[in-house]
């Protein structure tokens, strides 16, 4: 076994021709990502921000000053920042051990759990918020347990409308980001490295700290960056669980745009948000500058081991408690609520949902909603995979400024207000083609959010492929295509599947700006849930819960299928 890890930063040689050729290759790879990002993100966002800052065509900078000096804006910005930092740290703290368990420990039900933890990602905030309120309120199972043990004198724990509730929900939503991004790489680290360190006398902790951690760091940094951007732009969670007194910049942008129609204020806040996101990405870039190493990756199924010893088993148990308590119990609330009927439990809500005979124009038959969600999910996944693969390939080939810039620019949509993007679509995408009412815009908008996941998942793997594997194949006479098929594809295939699962979850979950893309004739599952929840009547609530459960089940099934997918060499790792 050769030494697998090698620090980056060896000096660059000076070969003129290959370098030019590489530059051309990189540029070629970047064309599509740049066009995509420019057309569907940069241009709409610029258009709406410009309209806000220069309503009469001339830039009015007084607006900027007004907002920046406003103490209200400053306190909102401060809250946005600190809750995002704390949420990200908490998520890492809870999810990194989870990533280990779900990628390295072999136990019954692992695959199902891995799919299940991603489900929160797709559920509408309003549904999850409602489940959290039930779990954190005075009538929660925790309080019931307290009363059972301590009697009626037991203190009632009520976390509704607190920052704690926001933080817990953020961990719930983002657990999968860390588990998937970090676990994807972790499952392919050669365990013999750590074994060697142990044989040489290192403690388990030291072996982790000095061998595994440096190898994992790029993936950890990537997932931290994504979680930070998500929580920085948190919207529904803050409104529903934090109570109406708390607001993030995102909430204020939403209010300024959709209620006040105060575009100057909205634009200023959008710029503020953008500045913070760029700063965060710069920090992230700095953190990962020297983190990348080449290493020999191995097939994931060969790295999993049954937990051995008390420590391993305790870790597994602790992670299972976290997963059940934090991630699965809100889902259980949904299932339970979908079964509540006028007389105890039953399948009434499900029957109604599946045999709905109301014939109104905007009623959404369950089958249609499922079909449309799958349709958008698959299309968005394909778009994100193509754009993401191109960008990741370019970033592997060349690490110049341009590539780094595009790579980071692809992350910016994650940290941009969905309202800004959505309203940008409205005023910018009517020419040359009027895409505003087009269903094609939906997967494109969803792919904006999914693409960075693809890049972040692929890049650590692509960059760590040991070049000598390819060289060896070439020496043995394999043509480039065959080298790619036999070396790269099998190794990257696993990561591609992980990325595909993520993209799919994002698209099915109706992220962000797609809310502002009108599509009356293709309503999706989340749209159907919103419609049901918007009506009085216990039966409508029950059906909304049944639809949410269906959404969770379909997502979990799809993810499970994607995780197990084997197409030739793809997924063998």
């Amino acid at each position: 076994m050769t030494l697998a890890a090698r620090p980056a930063g060896t000096r660059r040689g000076s070969r003129r021709r290959p370098r030019t050729r590489r530059w051309l290759a990189t540029a070629g790879l970047l064309v599509l990502p740049v066009v995509f990002l420019g057309w569907f993100f940069a241009w709409p966002v610029t258009a709406i921000v410009w309209q806000g800052l220069a309503p009469e065509g001339d830039l009015e900078l007084g607006v900027l000053g007004r907002a920046v000096t406003d103490p209200g804006v400053r306190s909102v910005a401060w809250f946005t920042l600190w809750q995002a930092v704390v949420s990200t740290s908490l998520t890492l703290l809870v999810a990194l051990p989870g990533a280990y368990t779900l990628s390295r420990q072999r136990f019954r039900g692992r695959g199902v759990l891995q799919a299940a933890v991603t489900v929160p990602f797709v559920l509408p905030t309003v549904v999850v918020g409602s489940a959290f309120l039930a779990l954190l309120g005075p009538r929660s199972p925790i309080n019931a347990a307290l009363v059972a043990v301590l009697g009626d004198e037991a203190p009632a724990l009520d976390l509704r409308r607190t920052v704690t509730a926001i933080l817990l929900a953020h961990v719930f939503f983002n657990y999968a980001v860390v588990v998937r991004t970090v676990g994807g790489l972790w499952s392919m680290l050669d365990p013999r490295l750590e074994d060697a360190a142990r044989v040489l006398g290192a403690s388990r902790w030291r072996a982790f700290r000095e061998v595994t951690w440096p190898l994992l760091r790029p993936a950890v940094a990537a997932s931290a960056a994504i979680v930070f951007l998500f929580t920085f732009t948190s919207f529904g969670v803050v409104l529903i669980l934090g109570g109406p007194g708390r607001a993030t910049i995102e909430v204020e942008i939403h209010r300024a745009t959709t209620q006040l129609l105060d575009l100057p204020l909205a634009s200023t806040l959008a710029l503020l948000q953008l500045a913070a996101v760029l700063a965060a990405l710069a920090v992230y870039g700095r953190l990962t500058r020297r983190a990348q190493v080449q290493q020999r990756l191995v097939a994931s199924h060969t790295t999993q081991r049954r937990p051995q010893g008390r420590g391993e088993r305790a870790l597994l148990a602790a992670n299972l408690v976290v997963i059940v308590g934090l991630v699965l119990s809100p889902l259980a609330v949904l299932v339970e609520r979908s079964l509540v009927t006028a007389e105890g439990y039953g399948l009434d809500n499900w029957r109604r949902l599946l045999t709905d005979d109301t014939s109104t124009v905007l009623a959404v038959p369950a089958a249609d909603a499922v079909r449309n969600s799958l349709l958008f999910g698959v299309s968005a996944t394909l778009v994100a995979l193509v754009i993401g693969t191109l960008a990741a390939s370019a970033a592997t080939l060349d690490r110049g400024r341009l590539t780094g810039l595009v790579d980071r620019a692809l992350m910016v949509p994650l940290g941009t207000s969905a309202v800004t993007v959505g309203f940008g679509f409205l005023i910018a995408l009517d020419r040359p083609l009027d895409l505003r009412g087009s269903p094609l815009l939906v997967p494109l908008a969803q792919a904006l959010i999914a693409t960075p996941f693809v890049v972040r998942t692929l890049l650590p793997v692509l960059r760590s492929i040991d070049r000598r594997l390819r060289e060896a194949a070439a020496v043995l006479g394999a043509r480039p295509l065959r080298v790619w098929r036999e070396i790269d594809l099998p190794i990257v295939g696993r990561a591609l599947l992980v990325a595909a699962g993520f993209s799919f979850a994002i698209a099915v979950g109706e992220f962000g700006a797609t809310v502002f893309v009108a599509r009356a004739n293709l309503p999706t599952m989340p749209v159907a849930i919103f419609r049901l929840l918007g009506r009085p009547g216990v039966a409508n609530f029950g059906q909304a819960m049944a639809m949410s459960t269906l959404l969770a089940a379909i997502t979990a099934t799809a993810l499970l299928a994607i995780d197990r997918l084997r197409v030739g060499q793809i997924g063998r790792f």
């Binding site: 090698r6 980056a8 930063g9 060896t10 660059r12 040689g13 290959p18 590489r22 790879l29 309003v126 409602s130 309120l133 005075p138 790029p218 409104l239 529903i240 109406p244 209010r255 959709t258 129609l261 990405l281 700095r286 500058r289 990348q292 006028a342 109604r352 109104t360 905007l362 249609d368 449309n372 349709l375 299309s379 394909l382 191109l390 970033a395 080939l397 590539t403 980071r408 005023i427 009517d430 009027d434 009412g437 087009s438 650590p460 070049r467 480039p480 080298v483 790619w484 009108a518 599509r519 009356a520 293709l522 929840l533 918007g534 009506r535 009085p536 009547g537 216990v538 039966a539 609530f541």
Partner: protein, 399 residues
């Protein structure tokens, strides 16, 4: 790893051009995948269209060429055209009613929901140079002045106005025509009050009574339309000088504020199972809805309405300035004010018809309450003060 760092180079150097090949191959595969994606999307997106819905948007995208000069041709005979109705997410109408319109006029209707009422209006204002549709439904009296100030609508003196209750015609220019009305009212959990032998409050002022401590859930007026209506109700009831005192008393009496209607109604309100507060801000039509959607339907509604708390909401429709199909839009407006459409309103949108000839469905006759003298504020006054009132409310209640 995004940083422009030097390439990781193993000590055993190798011909650089080899490095270059693999990503090219990736590009080729990726390009092929893109083609596949493009091919896969077309049939997928078109397939569901014909059967799914009368609303067709795609032809619009495919035919940017405007052959029919909208104003002249369409004015003569709009039959065979499509009219696009922009609206909020709570809009709905029975399929057969809309089909009747198409049968009568030959005009197809495409319904496009654009978010909540405020969002839909703001989208229409922002896209006024290139409207996304021909008419906008769903502007209510709290947003009416914004729509009128922006001169979003063209006037239409609909013949159907003859049957419409004059009280609802709030725009003398006839740009915005009333279609529905309803009331935002406090709802109470009938059983809860009966069990405790507690009197249901009859006046807004009762709510600050310690007997009702911790019983009320309301929505944030900054984010919720019924929340705003309830704030306006308190302003009308206690006056601009008194409403903040009332609200600070309410805070002392442990009022809970939620972000939106569904959280208040389903998570806090006891009348629908989820919560533990027996008083909530909802609609006058909520009790009949509770009966209508229950299975089996109860004889009495489980919830009731406190009449003295009701604030009137009127929703308007208007033909957009710059509409491509104004003739079709006029026909649709006439239809929306007519008896057929109006009688469909209660059980699809849970609002009341403004057409005096329209009959109410039985469940509304039996369980709905229409207050004789609801609280009301002039739309112009709302338009002028909305932000200041919300801001003052936020300072008093949330900070």
């Amino acid at each position: 790893m995004t940083a422009p760092s030097p390439l990781p180079r193993p000590r055993t150097t190798s011909p650089v051009h080899r490095r270059g090949r693999r990503p090219w191959l990736f590009a080729a595969v990726a390009a092929a995948a893109l083609l596949l994606a493009a091919c896969a999307q077309d049939p997928d997106d078109e397939a569901p269209d014909p059967g799914a819905d009368p609303a067709e948007e795609e032809p619009d995208d495919d035919e940017p060429v405007e052959e029919d000069a909208p104003d002249t041709d369409a004015a003569e005979d709009p039959a065979g055209t499509t009219v696009t109705l922009l609206t909020h997410d709570s809009f709905d109408v029975s399929e057969e009613v809309l089909e009747a319109f198409t049968d009568e006029t030959g005009v197809e209707v495409s319904v496009v929901p654009l978010g909540d009422a405020g969002t839909a209006l703001n989208q229409a204002i922002l896209t006024r140079d290139a409207p996304q549709g021909d008419l906008l439904f769903g502007v209510d009296n709290s947003f009416l002045s914004r729509a009128l100030d922006e001169e979003l609508f063209v006037a239409h003196d609909s013949p159907a106005l003859a049957e419409v209750d004059e009280r609802f015609v709030l725009d003398p220019e006839l740009g915005a025509l009333p279609v529905t009305y309803g009331d935002v009212c406090l709802n109470h959990d009938v059983e809860w009050f009966a069990e405790r032998d507690l009197e249901v409050p009859t006046d807004l002022a009762d709510l600050t009574d310690p007997a009702y401590e911790g019983l009320l859930a309301v929505q944030n007026p900054a984010t919720s339309s019924p929340g705003l209506s309830f704030l306006l109700a308190t302003i009308d009831r206690f006056g601009e000088d008194g409403y903040l005192d009332f609200w600070s008393d309410l805070v002392d009496n442990d009022v809970v504020v939620t972000d939106g209607w569904s959280e208040a109604y389903y998570d806090e309100f006891s009348g629908t199972g989820g919560g533990d507060r027996p008083l909530v801000v909802s609609y006058a039509s909520s009790p009949p809805a509770e009966v209508f959607f229950a299975d089996p339907q109860p004889d009495e509604a489980p919830t009731g309405v406190i009449e003295a708390s009701c604030f009137r909401q009127v929703e308007f429709v208007g033909i957009l300035e710059g509409a491509e199909n104004p003739a079709g839009a006029r026909l649709l407006v006439d239809f929306m004010l007519g008896q057929r459409f109006q009688e469909d309103l209660p059980l699809t949108m849970f609002v009341f018809p403004v057409n005096t000839e329209a009959a109410l469905p039985e469940v509304f006759e039996e369980h709905a309450v229409v207050p004789d003298e609801p609280l009301e504020i002039d739309p112009a006054a709302i338009g002028e003060n909305r932000e200041a009132w919300i801001e003052a409310w936020t300072s008093t209640v949330l900070r």
